[in-house]
Amino acid sequence: MDEQKKSLLNVHSYTKECIERYDGASSQQTKTSDAPPLIRMKLSDAIFNLCRANSLWPLTFGLSCCAIEMMCCGMARFDMARYGAEVFRPSPRQSDLMIVAGTVNRKMAPALVTLYEQMPAPRYVIAMGNCAMAGGPFAVEANYDVVLGVDQLIPVDVYIPGCPPRPEALIEGILQLQEKITGKRFPLPQNKMPKGA
């Protein structure tokens, strides 16, 4: 009974997997099944995509500075609620959008991949900020710990540059994701905003 016990701080079961993915050796071998839905109809797809795009529930995954701009986005002034994205779910089970807001380092990579895999099937990823895109200000010769870009670990749908990107950039990223899901960009509510708002 002793040997298979994991020491508390021991290596996460996904560390080897992350190292392989980071070196480009394996690409998402951990996918066990990838069957499409049982009933595939154009109409049902259109309806479901419309619903998914307009109610993207992000996972609270704030790692560093970009997390504060993500919070500003959720607040009254920039208000992601206009696009259905303001419900920040703490657990990946109830969220379908993972906004990687901050720097991912080698110790955090296994947790990132685990959380990505524990989200229900139609899952989307936004890489927010230069650190999540390509290591940002830490992609220097002296860096021994920061993962240069989240897309080497998990597939990313929308990249948002900036350090940290402005809240408007995050909202534009969500609109781009909605366009990617449904194929068309929704008439922005801003068009009907009262003058001077």
């Binding site: 560093s64 997390a67 504060i68 701009e69 919070m71 607040m75 947790a111 220097v140 860096n143 021994y144």
Partner: protein
Amino acid sequence: MSMNVEVLEDDKHHRYVLNMGPQHPSTHGVLRVLLELEGEYAMNLLPVLGYGHRCHEKIAEFKPAKSFMPNTARMDYLGALIYNHGFAQLLERACGIEVPERVEYIRVITSELNRIQSHLLWYGAYLLDLGAFTPIMYAFDDREHILDILEDVTGSRLTYCYFRVGGVSKDIDDKFVTSTRAFVKRLRGRFPMYEDLVNGNVILQNRLIDIGELTPQTCARYGVTGPLLRGTGVAYDIRRAEPYSIYSKFDFEIPTETKGDCMASFLVRFRELEQSLRIIEQALDSLPEGPIMAAKVPKKLKIPAGDYNSSVEAPRGELSYYLVSDGSDVPYRLKVRTPSYSNLSIVPEVCQGMLISDVVSAMGSLDLVIPEIDR
């Protein structure tokens, strides 16, 4: 009293070990705390750090000292200008550069605005941890005002890189002065509303009073500084104890409490908002004219060999830089002593045996910023 990892492994005690792990709403970032639970009581806690480590100190040894300024803002992004101030002061001390009078005033005004912004975010996030959703909306509404004021001058909203060695990069105009005065008046008017909405709330008091008590001796043994130390009755504030820049010119009190529990540090931070407003007003009244850059700042900053210290009062406690220079312009070794690092180290002793919800409220009162701990 710290968690003994070996005892746990063979599981004789059938205690339930839970990860309050890297992705958790109440850890304000990627801090992982191992809770060894007995029913609702966390009998042992073991914070595990390193999930936000970004090699700042190694980067400092590869770049000229002047170009490390953006990194200081990314260590504690809520007190970025104060981190800039500490680093600029470090290099000015080392190279003997005199800073013009106006620059000192600009630095104090913008640093205090940054301190208010950091305390407002703490105020909202802490109450969000305790389950209150409305105060964070009010706090962020005020905070956005500061972000606009500082954005006109510094150009960014969060990770400022506004100070330079010997001065600042852009002068403040009178639009900045008028909007700052308007903001001071507005925020001072909202304090009664905050007082009624939150501080007087009985649920908050039950959640905070007698939770996580600290004594000055514990703070000395752990190196805890900032609002937590002032909560225990010790009026230690670097702006008053080691007056740097021109803080000696302003009169402001150091708010302290006596009990040292979560409510004490809550009230101390809340009252510090008022003191920062007073400093800003006095600084705005006596803002001198003058250049915004020291006369002769060498392009390649030769730092004479030796080791230098500079400590400033960050929103969370004492921030001190320690620079070892071997005469070239690249630092030989730069260590940044960040306040939350020592503030967090009291968790295993103070939160031992607490209910889980009290652990969340005690850690929220530490006002943690994780990349500042992991550097």
